[in-house]
Symmetry: C2
Subunit: 527 residues, 2 copies
């Protein structure tokens, strides 16, 4: 096992501080190696200064140079081998197969963004050439492209120690578009964070990139995190976590003299609507599929299905029994940490305390160290659901609420009453779906992703993915944190008017030296 130094990565430097913390494995409380240094205000200052110094050089780097950096980071992460897997498993209590899969996803994500950087068309180049003879006034030459915005602060998430952390999707999309990154490492997995940060630094050295493009600090989000969000050199923030955390960062960013965007992916109940035909045809399969999705990773996914909505009747009665039995047969497992387990207990109990909500099925934690959470299925009727906003709130962990509607109209009312969601799912027979255009349209208005006959967990990293949704699921319905469109968060357009040809950036130059897709005088093509 690699030795952990516990220091903060401040550009090219490693910095210690007077205050340290350590972590224990959530599975049984065994203390883990490493004392991690809480970053001081001066460390955040210097990280921001280093990022600002690196912004110009990284913005001027070619797409190929950025692609090589992203690929080198992927290679270095994979090269960490079992050390990384072991440490991540120990810090999160997630099983090895999950961490190995997440490492593959993280490397694949970095390589996807490398391909996007290398190809280069993401700059959305648009050229409207001069018309010197136009009447009544000549038209100037106008060219527009997307540019990086500058240093981005990324908050590591608790539940994806690799894919949404130090070198996850936020970091990859920021670097792809030429923005330096400062990571605030999550408190729950500092050793994993240090290993990945070391991999990033080795990649930076190998590629000869300005060392200010990457820093990583340990510490409290509400202290060093907020300091970074307020720093005038920082231009955007990526965050995956709680609604309270996302809102606090958003408020800090909005209160700056020059506000900056905070892209916060916060909470979602991911409702699943099971229509009558599906309930009749596939009750057992849906019960098992839903159970597997709601308990995957101990329910610690932002896309965990927290609501199941169906219409009362004999088929739902049968389904209810199947699902309750499946939930009761699911072994309990350790959550990511004490605080997350305590939050789960709190929100579970609050939901069960709503008048009209009843417990259908549950499993108790079974370990002596009391780190486990058991799956919980509760039930209520649509009227209660609609009357108590608490029923629609996310419970982070392995709990779902079955909502029984008395008819299709009431099922629609539940859908219409939903606030913004990351996902919404419909299970239906062919006949159900043919009659569901209204429901699908309604859900598309409330969720970032609408799924038919599937489950919301499992978010593909691809061009067409939209992992977002209207508030309060995220802070901004227009942006995704997964897939190649995630880069749109960290860019801004600039228009160049009548620049001498030799001063134009290559993306906007005559002859299209980069060979990218451009919109020239309204016509799209590689010209």
């Amino acid at each position: 096992m690699a030795t952990l130094h516990g220091l903060n990565f401040v550009g090219a430097a490693l910095r210690k501080s007077g205050r340290t913390f350590s972590v224990a494995t959530p599975a049984d409380g065994t203390p883990l190696e490493g004392r991690f240094h809480m970053a001081r205000p001066v460390d955040a200052e210097e990280a921001a200064e280093a990022a600002a110094a690196a912004a110009g050089p990284l913005a001027r780097a070619t797409g190929e140079e950025r692609a090589l950096l992203l690929e080198a980071i992927a290679d270095e992460i994979v090269a960490l081998g079992d050390d990384l897997v072991r440490r991540a498993c120990a810090e999160t209590a997630l099983p090895e197969a999950r961490i190995v899969a997440e490492r593959g996803r993280t490397a694949g994500q970095l390589r996807l963004f490398a391909a996007v950087a290398r190809e280069g068309s993401w700059v959305d180049a648009r050229i409207d050439r001069a018309q010197p003879d136009r009447q009544p006034l000549p038209r100037p030459d106008i060219r527009r492209m997307l540019l990086p915005i500058g240093p981005v602060v990324v908050f590591g998430s608790s539940n994806f120690p690799l894919a949404f952390s130090v070198a996850g999707g936020d970091t990859a999309s920021a670097l792809c578009t030429g923005n330096p990154v400062i990571v605030k490492a999550h408190r729950g997995h500092p050793g994993t964070s240090e290993l990945v940060a070391g991999a990033v630094r080795r990649a930076i050295e190998r590629c000869g990139v300005h060392p200010g493009v990457f820093s990583m600090l340990h510490g409290e989000g509400s202290v060093v995190g907020v300091q970074l969000v307020r720093d005038p050199r920082v231009r955007a923030v990526g965050f995956t976590g709680s609604r309270a955390g996302g809102r606090a960062l958003g408020a800090a960013a909005a209160a700056r003299p020059e506000p900056i965007p905070v892209f916060a992916e916060m909470s979602s109940s991911n409702p699943v609507f099971v229509l009558p035909g599906a309930l009749a045809e596939r009750a057992a399969a849906i019960a098992e599929g839903f159970r597997a999705s709601m308990t995957l990773g101990v329910g610690q996914f932002c896309t965990k299905p927290g609501l199941l909505v169906a219409i009362e009747g004999p088929d739902l009665a049968r389904f209810r029994g199947l699902l309750a039995a499946a939930v009761a047969a699911t072994p309990p497992a350790s959550m990511l940490g004490d605080e997350i387990l305590a939050e789960f207990d709190h929100h579970r109990d609050a939901l069960l305390a709503v008048p009209g909500v009843r417990l259908l099925s549950h499993v108790d934690g079974a370990d002596a160290a009391c780190t486990q959470a058991g799956a919980v299925l509760a039930e209520t009727d649509a009227a209660t659901f609609l009357a108590h906003g608490r029923c629609a709130d996310e419970v982070f962990g392995p709990m779902s609420l079955l909502v029984a509607a008395c008819d299709a109209r009431e099922l629609h009312a539940v859908a219409a009453g939903l606030s913004g969601q990351l996902t919404a799912t419909v299970h239906g027979s062919a006949a159900d779906l043919d009659g569901s255009a209204d429901l699908l349209e309604l859900l598309a208005g409330r969720a970032g992703r609408v799924i038919v006959n599937g489950y919301p967990t499992g978010v593909e990293v691809c061009h067409a993915m939209h992992h977002g949704g209207p508030p309060p699921a995220t802070s901004d319905a227009r942006f995704t944190s997964v897939g190649s469109a995630a880069l749109e968060r960290f860019v801004r357009p600039v228009c160049l008017q009548d620049l001498p040809p030799h001063l134009l950036p290559p993306a906007l130059a005559e002859g299209n030296p980069l060979g990218i897709e451009r919109l020239v005088d309204g016509v799209r093509g590689r010209h």
Copy 2:
């Protein structure tokens, strides 16, 4: 002249209220025809309800249907003929040629968005097809497109009674993408607003579109405007006006339980950097060009150049004399209204009161009614400019500040000290420009549009235009309010996973029935 009813357009209805106001021509205080009804809270309620009812039908309308509506609006506005021109001139004191040109721009803008709606590729369709045999897990079919967001509130601006008002760029881009519009008419030109609203309504009737797609209300921005921004049915806001107004609307929108974006284009000083070679080669031409741009429309453009930065020396001394003389020879003219004139006087005096700022040249208003503003040129040195934030603030009206730097380093410091701007301009000889890569890069980081050897007034409506810029120029550096990219403000992506083929919207269907540009499995084309 058409008779004005003064009523509020609430969907298909016309509504009066107990409180009315009238306007006078700013040029000489002559009362103008028409008593305009201040919308009541119930009118705003009903307009929002009508817009919400129209949102579904308009979202489902084809691109061709939306294009026909936009073209019909353009036709109906042009068909208003001299009535519209006369009323707009009377309400704004802008000259006839300007209003005629602005009408052309407004119709052209509507037709540009019609073409974009008809062509259809704006939905940014992306398809990643299923890979059922992928290991370790199959990949689902994932398709993503942009959808309209719902009712948009548009605040008419004072300085563009046609192009940024009732049927201006905000309305055109919202309708193009399928969003109903509620206009809060500007208090300064209610008659012009009524005429245009009537044209929009006739177009809606002619095209058989849901009448809820358009409402227009008279009243105070801080009352009926804020009510609309807070209405839960409203999904976005477009605003062109003061920094205080934009920030107040932004705060109201952010305080909603489900916050919505406010696209506010607020203020900019539009600095012009005149480099030594240009000063030596073209002093007279630049002095005249700058004067014309700063006094165009009595300086009432968001892109009015309010700062001119150059390096001290004999060439600047000569230029200073030429510019001062040109300013002194500019006839005064009536501003858009009393309040705007009073604001101009206030901000002009505040700038002149900054220690180290001196008056170089000015013209007095010459009319008995005291509605005119004369051009004003002030001067300071770079050290004073950098020490007093007030020097960089916009003065809305015909005033500019010449900033003399002692050398190139100080000129760069002035550029580096700028906050977000709509535009930044560089005048340079060929040799100047060859040495200006750093300055151009610096300005591209602070302005939405960088202009070489031109003037910032005159904003082309085209695909490559970016009329925006970092805060405080606008509320969001990523979006433009002019040009076809302005539609990006009123859309959000939605991802559809594993939908049965026959339930896919045409933009995402197999075989590409709309023939639009799409990104299919990572390859762009009309496939």
